[in-house]
């Protein structure tokens, strides 16, 4: 069934179709509609779930963890300050191997107070052990929630489905809402091998000495390494049932491209427009939109970029004192391989400033004029 809906409601529908059993959430702009719709769904019986109206995001994640270890499918959504408040519990969810799925609306971190988009909130959580999916359309948001539960429950690693504030969260698009029966076939009920129950009394997460801790983390990394293949496999399976592929990256006109933008989130769709324009004027351009940031698709990025002459990474984030964060990852993906293209780094669109087609043209003009990539970080559209 096709429905016109905002990005936030695409998250709610994803959680509903995934038959989330426990939802614990706390409101924050621009995430509020996610939980408003879910609480309505719980109230009118559309969704058979317990909605816990906690007093903070920290408690939201703690409650999701409790629900998950008890064997229930748990969902939450937040943004920015709320995600930062959860930080301790994000480590807990991943370290404890609880396959919770969470929506995060990318919103800039205060101060100054900003409700508009950039990625520093979610990227600050990159080392917590969560999988991170950056979406570019409402359809992708809904589909990814369902896929994320499947991947997370297979690997017992939590997943974060991420979308830009307003550019997606509050933008209405046509979304093909999958059939519940088909989703049920794709995503079976959550049945963890062990759970918190008196019939099998175990202690979870107790004092762990140096002789055991490292192995627990080694296993987390090893399972994370299985995730790229599993995401592709479950993406193909999804395509068979629903007709839409969900992969690690979205490589647009990259096959024969000389110059490629590397993007994430909704900026990736803006880049496509510029790519088409460039193609018309004879420049063989492409756009590599990275969808999955953790695990980082190193092999896939190498495979796409190795045939390219130049790559320009546009980051909607900054690791202060270093670089744009996608830029760092892309460079490390290519490092040490012969014949890789020079990679240029750009920072744009912080605090919700628009990343327009002109922004991409400015990026291209800069990169195309240089033969060698230096370490310069170029800020697009900044008033100096």
């Amino acid at each position: 069934m096709k429905k016109v809906m905002m990005g936030n409601h695409a998250l709610s529908y994803g959680a509903m179709l995934s038959r989330s059993q426990v939802i614990a959430a706390y409101p924050i702009t621009p995430q509020t509609q996610v939980v408003e719709l879910l609480s309505e769904m719980c109230a009118d019986g559309t969704l058979d779930a317990r909605f816990i109206k906690v007093e903070s995001e920290h408690s939201a994640m703690a409650a999701c963890i409790g629900a998950s270890v008890a064997g229930a499918r748990a969902f939450t959504a937040t943004s920015s300050q709320g995600l930062a408040l959860m930080h301790e519990m994000l480590h807990w969810a991943a370290g404890g191997r609880h396959p919770i799925v969470m929506g995060n609306i990318n919103r800039s971190m205060a101060p100054g107070w900003s409700i508009w988009t950039d990625q520093n909130d979610s990227l600050s959580e990159r080392d917590t052990g969560w999988m991170q999916y950056y979406c570019a359309s409402n359809q992708e948001v809904l589909d990814t929630v369902i896929q994320a539960f499947k991947v997370s429950e297979r690997l017992m690693i939590p997943g974060m489905v991420i979308l830009d504030a307003f550019a997606l969260s509050h933008t209405y698009e046509v979304v093909d809402v999958p059939d519940q029966a088909a989703v049920d076939k794709y995503l079976p009920p959550f049945k963890p091998a062990i759970r918190l129950t008196p019939s099998d009394p175990r202690a979870f997460g107790g004092l762990t000495g140096a002789e055991h801790y490292m192995e627990l983390r080694y296993k987390l990394q090893k399972d994370m390494e299985k995730a790229p293949a599993l995401i592709e496999e479950t993406g193909r399976e999804f395509e068979k049932i629903f007709g839409r592929n969900l992969g690690l990256v979205d490589a647009y006109r990259c096959d024969d491209a000389d110059f490629v933008f590397v993007t994430s989130g909704t900026a990736g769709f803006t880049a496509r427009v510029v790519v088409d324009e460039f193609r018309k004027s004879g420049l063989k351009a492409g756009n590599l939109r990275i969808k999955v940031f953790r695990p980082f698709p190193f092999a896939k990025v190498r495979e796409v970029l190795k045939k390219v002459k130049k790559a320009a990474v546009v980051d909607r984030n900054c690791s202060y004192g270093a670089h744009g964060i996608f830029y760092q990852e892309v460079k490390s993906a290519l490092y040490g391989e012969a014949g890789m293209p020079p990679v240029f780094g750009y920072i744009a669109g912080l605090g919700g400033r628009d990343i327009t087609t002109d922004s991409f043209k400015e990026v291209a003009a800069h990169a195309l004029a240089k033969d060698k990539a230096d370490e310069e970080i170029v800020w697009i559209g900044v008033k100096k």
Binding site: S59, A62, C64, G66, A67, R202, A203, G206
Partner: protein, 298 residues
């Protein structure tokens, strides 16, 4: 012929706590756990945040308890337990009693927000605070449950704690939850009786359990139960219940209320107190006792 002596067990015989745990000798908190589990039985799930009990239970992969335990973050006992209860119910188990089991630091201080949230929503959990009146796990630092006059490593003798203990029971009563009880390891029958009563009540139930700590109080391990009993008998820690926020019942009437001095003087943490300071503690205890009597249902 000699008459056969009959023994009546006043506590359930079932032991859900094994020896081999990691507590100090004379730890009051271990007795508190043992009695609670006797009352609740095996169909119990615990959420234990950072506190001495996070260690006492035993290191991974061991556990000294025969009930499932989720070790949760310091400030999340109430919120994690809320999630566990919801998760169990959504997967078809509505029988298991879910208990959040935290120290005074995890209750009076860092976990108060989550506890208040859970209590206001009347989550169907039992929250037990075992109170040893300081952060013991991290080496005896003051908490807001540390009483007036006590030494801790962050309230050194020259700068001992001059503010009174936070009244957690009054705070919880203000949430108008169905059941609140104080209990002491010196009165196990009373503790078990109230815990069993709580088990059958729906909603948030809160226990404040007095659990002396010889390591942190600089008392003799063999005095743990004695200290707990003294605190009950001198009204330093009276045993009572509060139902629905205002129906107060005194569980142990004190015909012969003892002075606090003897209790204070066998604890190293109060060694520096002058007679006048002890007298001011006595006055405070008396005033609290009078208030409690006034609040009791007649």
């Amino acid at each position: 012929m000699k008459k056969e002596k009959k023994m009546t067990l006043t506590l359930p015989a079932e032991e859900l706590m094994a020896c081999g745990h990691l507590a100090c000798q004379g730890c009051g908190a271990t007795l508190a756990m043992r009695y609670m589990l006797k009352a609740l039985g095996q169909k119990t799930a615990l959420c234990i945040p950072a506190c001495c009990w996070a260690v006492i239970d035993g290191p991974y992969p061991y556990s000294s308890l025969d009930v499932p335990i989720y070790h949760c973050a310091f400030e999340t006992a109430a919120s994690t337990a809320t999630g566990v209860k919801a998760g169990l119910e959504m997967t078809g188990d509505s029988e298991t009693t879910v208990v959040a089991w935290a120290g005074d630091g995890g209750t009076f201080d860092i976990g108060l927000q989550a506890l208040s949230g859970a209590a206001e929503r009347n989550e169907d959990i039992i929250y037990v605070c075992y109170d040893n009146e300081a952060y013991m796990n991290t080496g005896i630092q003051r908490s807001s449950a540390t009483p007036y006059g006590a030494w801790t490593t962050t309230t050194p003798v020259k700068h001992f704690k001059t503010r009174p203990k936070k009244d957690i029971v009054a705070i919880m009563a203000a949430h108008r939850i169905p059941y609140i009880a104080t209990a002491s390891i010196s009165h196990p029958e009373d503790f078990v009786k109230k815990m069993r009563k709580a088990k059958d009540i729906k909603g948030t139930r809160f226990f404040h359990v007095y659990a002396p700590c010889p390591t942190g109080w600089k008392s003799r391990p063999e005095d743990t139960v004695k200290l707990a009993r003294m605190a009950v008998q001198n009204a330093y820690f009276p045993l009572c219940e509060i139902e629905d926020g205002d129906k107060v019942t005194l569980n142990l009437k004190l015909k012969d209320k003892k002075p606090v001095n003897d209790y204070i003087r066998i604890q190293g943490r109060f060694r520096h107190l002058t007679e006048a300071q002890v007298a001011s503690i006595q006055a405070e205890v008396d005033a609290r006792w009078e208030r409690l009597l006034k609040n009791c249902a007649v």
